[in-house]
């Protein structure tokens, strides 16, 4: 190891976005742990305040700053690190590092790039260099032609013959890539791709080939291993981030497996990676012919998955190798006795399934293909494919019970659905099997290897057998066991054997549970030990399976353990922030002398790292599985309030089975979750709330709306597709909406609430002990109410609310805490208009903003809450929000560029995929840092204003004036232009997209003559005028920063008009003193 390295700069990946999510919190945290073990000081740049890596216990110095060359250089100047790690922060860190290298910054400040040299990274990122490089060692890549213009792309496609695929260099997860069957499709896609990149690749199509990946590791002595291989369930053509993936490969022979393995070693050696890389192959399903599709010379989503799939800590090892260690010098951290220089042997199968949230977006296509749209993933572990896939399909958390047993999943045009996959693909296969499609036919339409389909068919066949039985007496014990081995839950078994009605399900599944326990049909706990039991291992990394008779571990049952339930798959509304909460709860549980037990199944998290807790159950967060584990562990209790909504929803049911829930009682949780009960309670304690009603007929809705007046917020029951929560402003919109939500009924009622315009939205995150509020943090939204709190820009401490408002919010919170006898974390959202305060939501659990306020306040609210839940006495922290001399701003990150056709507009449903939190001396500095961190730039020259309703026009007057004073050129659509002129502000008119004459907005955007687009929607309905939609969408597609909220636009504009980049202070978190 190189002893001259004392201080290392680590680049993070910033906000979570599609294609770049929690996996980099995991890899960065591992890397910093590895450095810390060597006594090396770490300096981290990452504005993602909700991550675990941005914690004192992981990094020594943390800069909540944008991961861009400008800021990284300034941090280098200040910190003078000896080395830098570029491969642990995804594509963001890699691109930033590459640019710094090109500009000679590392050389200038004597910073050594540790691990894989930048030259090697560039060889893998530039397609032409990459192909040349692999040609040098006789490794095949798809036949392809690199082009720099649309015209050349069309020519290249003629040469290769359609269908072809195009790929853009230097982009996240396949952005700007896709298949084209004809010149028209190519023309459209290539145009778009060139907005992200200057070079694209036109390639032969290998649609239908198997897709296989290898995770490869190399040290400075040229020792190489492959840690894991993985096979995509979906053949090539579907991005690996969009595909179900299994590890290890299932349909490859030894010869194929090792042929690709040998190629992987040849490639990593030739490229010169030191650390980890990922090689993706296409493998001909009819021969051993192959192509190398891609090499990622950095830690990736796949490497995080491989780490979790095998128990091999790839990021940790890669960091050690970057410091110059030889592989054979490192220990296998699972066995502690064998070497890290080996290839894990699995004795189970893992199955990764993507999680999509496409219903959250207006207008987006549901088809899946060569670019990534999923927002998270799950990993399930089993000892049969049937078990693993059924577990996984439940884990994705969209109300599914497995491969079979789901209601309302019938598809019309099956052939089309099978050949043109959507996010529902796997359930389409289930439906096809149900409707009698053969494996051969499904294979012809999907090209999915028949082996996978046979296995799925096994699940369906067993279901048909189960249906023959009508009672537990009839059901043979062997059949029951077989069903459990195939991953059937008590719920599925109840549905097929007992056949209860919807309301009787709970009773039915409990009956199954009781029956099978009596028969001794219970799951066993197995370890993930990296060596398939060949060597004894101290591992605490566990899963449950029915394919087995013996537990690998012993249970002490001494009530000295506490189980913490995790947050499941990352999805819109629940991601890394809950992982931070879970990890902190585990730390506290341990610190208080308990054994900490974690249940979670998200491979992109730090909480599923086995060194985080005493026992990790990588398994389902379901009623059944949690009970299974509870039965075995007999813990002191369960913590359900730090993992978001999934554990929260289980609380009452678990409580019903005599499970001890620590902290706030499940009845209270239910009193807050249940709209009616909560509302009654607020009335009782005299706290105001917007008027609302649950209604089950169209007439009732009209009557109610007439009484409270427009606008109103309407939430349909969740089962209705095509109609999400929405605000409607007039009778016409209401009719349109109700048409979509056609089947309003007693069973599927609609909740209609009063919608208050121009109101401030305020949040309080707090911790209470036996009903007494111990600590709190009040923050305000920049946007007015109507923007989902997950999409809002949040300021803490609040800068613009009345003292009186704060006082009253505190009072209300105290009342609620007392009434619900809260012991633990809670969060409330309130509206304030003038001095009128109304409660809109209350959750008796940790919230999304918990890490943000905890870090800004420098008071760990989760630690406090966990101590309370464990029954420890805590002291009220002395700090209050008035002591802070600085301001934190949390800003959302959107991934609209990934979601073709989606309208990038904010509404009452959440659509952001991540967030950042930055700290500044004042509001303007903090918001500027935050906005720059989520991809905005300070515009160069030209700004397009299209400011919507009169209210927004007024809101933006001052900012428009500031822009002109600052020397910006304003462009405006007609109405905005007229309004500006009335106010003596100069602007140039651009015509609407659909107008034929004059300089057109769309043309200006496409020609990149605009540096920032401000487009405020006319009203809050989603039926937005075509023209506005086209402007917004063009801004996204041509990669021009877009703001659609007047108050946010105004705040951002004022910030960059007041401050230049150089005015921004480079201060680490520790330098902001409370």
């Amino acid at each position: 190891m190189d002893k001259t390295i004392k201080k290392v700069l680590v680049l993070g990946s910033g906000a979570l976005k599609i294609g770049e999510a929690g996996e980099f919190d995991y890899s960065g945290s591992q890397a910093m742990k590895a450095l810390r073990e060597e006594g090396i000081q770490t300096v981290l740049i990452n504005p993602n305040i909700a991550t675990v890596q941005t914690s004192e216990k992981i990094a020594d110095k943390i800069y909540f700053l944008p991961v861009t060359p400008y800021f990284v250089e300034r941090v280098i100047v200040k910190e003078k690190p000896d080395g830098v790690l570029l491969s642990f922060g995804g594509q963001t860190a890699l691109n930033c590092g590459t640019e710094l290298y090109r500009n000679g910054i590392f050389e200038k400040y004597n910073v050594r790039v540790l691990g894989t040299p930048v030259r090697a990274i560039m060889d893998t990122e530039d397609r032409e260099l990459f192909v040349d490089k692999l040609n040098e060692i006789d490794v095949k890549t798809p036949r392809s032609i690199a082009v720099t213009s649309v015209k050349d792309a069309l020519k290249a496609a003629e040469k290769l013959a359609y269908p072809i695929i195009i790929r853009a260099a230097y982009t996240l997860g396949g952005q700007g890539s896709g298949f084209c069957s004809n010149p028209e499709e190519l023309d459209a896609l290539a145009n778009k791709a060139f907005t992200y990149t200057t070079q694209i690749l036109v390639e032969e199509s290998l649609k239908g080939w198997k897709e296989v990946e290898y995770e490869v590791v190399r040290d400075v002595h040229d020792n190489c291993i492959t840690v894991c291989n993985m096979e995509n369930f979906d053949p090539l053509g579907i991005h690996t981030g969009e595909s179900i993936v299994v590890a290890p490969s299932q349909t490859l022979t030894n010869s194929e497996y090792h042929k690709l393995r040998e190629l992987s070693l040849r490639i990593i050696r030739h490229i010169g990676v030191v650390g980890e890389c990922n090689v993706q192959y296409a493998l001909d399903p009819e021969s051993e012919d192959y192509r190398v599709i891609e090499v990622n010379a950095r830690l990736s989503r796949s490497s995080a998955l491989a780490s979790k799939a095998t128990g091999y800590p790839l990021a940790f090892v890669a960091a050690k190798l970057a410091l110059g260690y030889g592989l054979y010098e490192l220990k296998n951290s699972v066995t502690q006795t064998t070497t890290a220089c080996f290839e894990p042997a699995l004795d189970y199968i893992v199955c990764k399934i993507p999680r999509w949230d496409l219903n959250k977006f207006q207008g987006v296509s549901h088809s899946i293909g060569s670019s990534m749209k999923s927002v998270g993933e799950v990993m399930s572990i089993g000892r049969s494919f049937e078990e693993a896939i059924q577990k996984g399909l439940r884990m994705i958390g969209q109300g599914m019970h497995g491969f079979v047993g789901n209601r309302d999943l019938s598809f019309d045009n099956l052939d089309k659905e099978l050949s043109e996959p959507t996010d529902m693909r796997i359930f389409v296969i289930a439906d096809a099997m149900e409707k009698g499609y053969s494996v051969d036919k499904i294979h012809d339409l999907t090209k999915i290897d028949k082996w996978f389909l046979y296995k799925l068919m096994n699940i369906v066949s067993l279901k048909d057998e189960l249906k023959q039985f009508n009672s537990l007496k009839e059901l043979p014990a062997e059949k029951l066991r077989e069903a459990k081995i195939f991953g059937y839950t008590d719920f599925q078994l109840a549905r097929y054997v007992l056949k209860p009605g919807v309301l009787e399900m709970e009773k039915g599944l409990l009956e199954i549970r009781k029956h099978r326990k009596k028969l001794g049909i219970v799951p066993v706990v197995k370890q993930i030990d990296t060596l398939a039991a060949e060597y004894p291992a101290q591992t605490n990394y566990l899963y449950l399976t029915y394919s087995g008779t013996d537990h690998d571990i012993q249970f002490t049952n001494n009530n000295k353990s506490v189980i913490v339930l995790g947050s499941g798959a990352y999805r819109i509304g629940s991601s890394v922030e809950f992982d931070w909460c879970t990890v902190n709860a585990l730390d506290t549980v341990k610190a208080e002398g308990y054994n900490s037990i974690m249940i979670n199944y998200n491979p992109e998290t730090v909480s599923t790292d086995y060194d985080i807790c005493d026992r990790l159950y990588f398994d389902e967060l379901s009623f059944e599985r949690v009970l299974d584990i509870y039965d075995l562990e007999q813990p002191e209790g369960l913590i359900v309030s730090v993992g978001g909504q999934i554990p929260n929803n289980l609380a009452l049911r678990l409580h019903g089975q005599d499970v001890t829930i620590l902290g706030t009682s499940p009845e209270s949780i239910d009193n807050a979750e249940n709209r009616h009960k909560f509302s009654m309670m607020l009335d009782k304690i005299g706290v105001d709330q917007p008027g609302w009603k649950e209604l089950s007929s169209i007439q009732d809705i009209h009557d109610f709306v007439e009484r409270i007046g427009f606008p109103v917020l309407i939430r349909p029951s969740y089962v209705l597709s095509g109609a999400a929560m929405n605000v409607v402003s007039n009778a016409k919109e209401l009719d349109q909406f109700l048409e979509l939500a056609a089947n309003v009924s007693k069973q599927y009622p609609v909740v209609v609430s009063e919608f208050i315009e121009q109101a401030k939205e305020i949040e309080i995150d707090a911790v209470a002990m036996e009903g007494e509020m111990i600590a709190y943090a009040i923050s305000e939204h920049v946007e007015f109410a109507g923007v989902h709190s997950g999409d809002a820009t949040i300021v803490f401490p609040p800068q613009k609310i009345y003292f009186e408002t704060v006082k009253r919010i505190k009072k209300i919170s105290r009342q609620v805490a007392r009434e619900l006898k809260i012991s633990g974390p809670f969060n409330m959202q309130l509206l304030a208009k003038d001095n009128d305060i109304k409660v809109i939501e209350c959750n008796l659990r940790a919230s999304r903003s918990m890490p943000f306020v905890s870090k800004v306040l420098k008071t760990n609210l989760i630690e406090l809450a966990t101590k309370i839940m464990l029954g420890k006495d805590v002291e009220k922290p002395g700090k209050s929000i008035f002591d802070l001399d600085y301001v934190g701003v949390k800003a959302p990150q959107f991934s609209f560029s990934r979601l073709q056709k989606a309208d990038p507009v904010l509404g009452v449903d959440m659509s952001s995929t991540g967030e950042v939190g930055c700290i500044g001396e004042d509001f303007y500095e903090a918001i500027l840092k935050s906005m720059l961190s989520v991809g905005y730039n300070i515009p160069a020259k030209n700004i397009l204003l299209s400011t919507g309703p009169a209210r927004s026009k007024v809101e933006l007057i001052n900012s428009a004036r500031a822009l002109v004073e600052k020397g910006y050129n304003l462009f405006a659509t007609r109405g905005t232009h007229d309004f500006l002129r009335l106010n003596n502000i100069d602007s140039t008119t651009l015509t609407w997209p659909d107008e034929k004459t004059g300089p057109n907005t769309l043309e200006y955007i496409k020609e990149k003559k605009i540096d920032l687009v401000i487009n405020i929607p006319k009203d809050l309905s989603q039926e937005e005028l075509d023209n506005d939609y086209m402007i917004r969408r063009a801004a996204i597609d041509y990669n021009i920063p877009l703001i659609t909220n007047a108050r946010l636009a105004s705040a951002f504009i004022l910030a960059f008009c007041k401050l230049d980049l150089d005015d921004i202070e480079i201060k680490c978190w520790g330098e902001y003193k409370v």
Partner: protein
């Protein structure tokens, strides 16, 4: 899915594991060993080194890609390691009744059945493996329908004599003449040698090699206790007095060790996997290797003219040795892989280079 019959495994310590039958419906006994490889069952099952053994595969899903076609190349089956199944019985967790692969000609169950080899699925193979790890390799019986059969300890037999070729055979027409002493050789060793412009003369384990004209001598892998091959050891002793290059693999390593005066011993549960790390002694180079052996060479017992060539990084056992002055070396692992990683295939090149230098 086919109708499955109950079948069980009994270990010599009395433990019983009840599973379901696939393959031949027969009872057999042998030595129970486990292998942690995740691919390569057609290769393992036809590896003569498994003679007399009941094989437990720790990877739970088996049979997925069926069994390959019976094409021949150079008079050897192209996709198998010998002409028949050598294991006595197969134990897995989850057998895949349907298979899918472009090169498959039939199912694993049918193949086992044709070769009269019983298979069991539905057993907790992880629990069984841990048992073997803790207690060491044990004798076992697969009992189909309560049939009563005797225990059988294969290590008491000369297994090599059972699997070695019956007659001298010649492969290829290359310029380097290699004499291959077949103690149960895997086809892939012959395939690798033939790639290097060689003629391979394959002779039985007890063949009098002193009468043969060759450029290099190769001692193959094979089953059982190396000390059973006293004739081979004696023959090797005289060959080592000469100066011709010698290369041994697996049992070949052990036989060379015994011929040189060193000792061998039985490992508690052996090395059978595709992920064994070895370090080349005196260097920083490590390799991942394929292994299948129950006996090992005692490093301490190596004579003064000999030194260890490779060491197992996990447990420090001998993974190969070389003569300090002569072109003689051997490995405990399998550079020919099949199945397993191909990292050390370069050793075949080194062997042939030695031959060419000597000429």
């Amino acid at each position: 899915m086919k109708e499955s019959h109950s079948i069980k495994l009994i270990l010599e310590d009395g433990t019983e594991y009840i599973g379901k039958s696939f393959g031949a419906r027969e009872s057999i006994s042998g030595e129970v060993v486990f292998n942690t490889a995740m691919t390569g069952y057609p290769e393992s099952l036809t590896d003569p080194s498994y003679k007399g053994q009941i094989l437990v595969l720790t990877y739970p899903l088996v049979g997925n890609y069926g069994t390959p076609v019976w094409d021949k190349e150079n008079h050897m089956l192209k996709y198998y390691e010998s002409d028949k199944i050598h294991i006595s019985g197969l134990i897995v967790s989850d057998y895949s009744f349907q298979y899918s692969h472009w090169n498959a000609r039939g199912s694993l169950a049918d193949w086992l059945e044709k070769n009269s080899v019983p298979g069991i699925y539905g057993i907790d193979t992880r629990a069984l493996t841990k048992k073997l790890r803790e207690s060491g390799t044990m004798l076992g019986k697969i009992i189909y329908q309560e049939e009563n059969i005797e225990w059988y300890d294969p290590n008491k037999d000369n297994l090599v004599a059972m699997v070695s070729t019956a007659k001298r055979e010649v492969y290829g027409k290359g310029k380097n003449k290699i004499l291959l002493v077949d103690c149960g050789v895997k086809n892939n060793i012959v395939r690798y040698l033939l790639e290097k412009d060689t003629t391979v003369i394959r002779v039985p384990w007890d063949h009098d090699i002193s009468k043969e004209d060759y450029d290099g001598l190769f001692i193959s892998n094979g089953p059982g206790d190396p000390r059973m091959c006293d004739i081979t050891i004696k023959n090797l002793k005289s060959a080592l007095d000469g100066t011709k290059p010698v290369f041994g693999i697996c049992l070949g390593n052990q036989l060379l060790a015994l011929a040189s005066g060193a000792e061998t011993y039985k490992l508690k549960y052996g090395h059978r996997s595709h992920n064994q790390p070895v370090l080349k002694v005196g260097t920083k180079r490590a390799y991942i290797t394929s292994q299948n052996h129950g006996f090992a060479v005692d490093n301490e017992s190596l004579g003064k003219d000999w030194e260890p060539l490779f060491i197992n990084i996990n447990d420090g056992t001998n993974e190969g040795m070389k003569h300090k002055t002569k072109p003689v070396f051997s490995t405990q692992f399998h550079p020919e892989a099949s199945g397993g990683p191909t990292d050390t295939a370069f050793l075949f090149d080194e062997f042939v280079e030695m031959i060419e230098e000597q000429k």
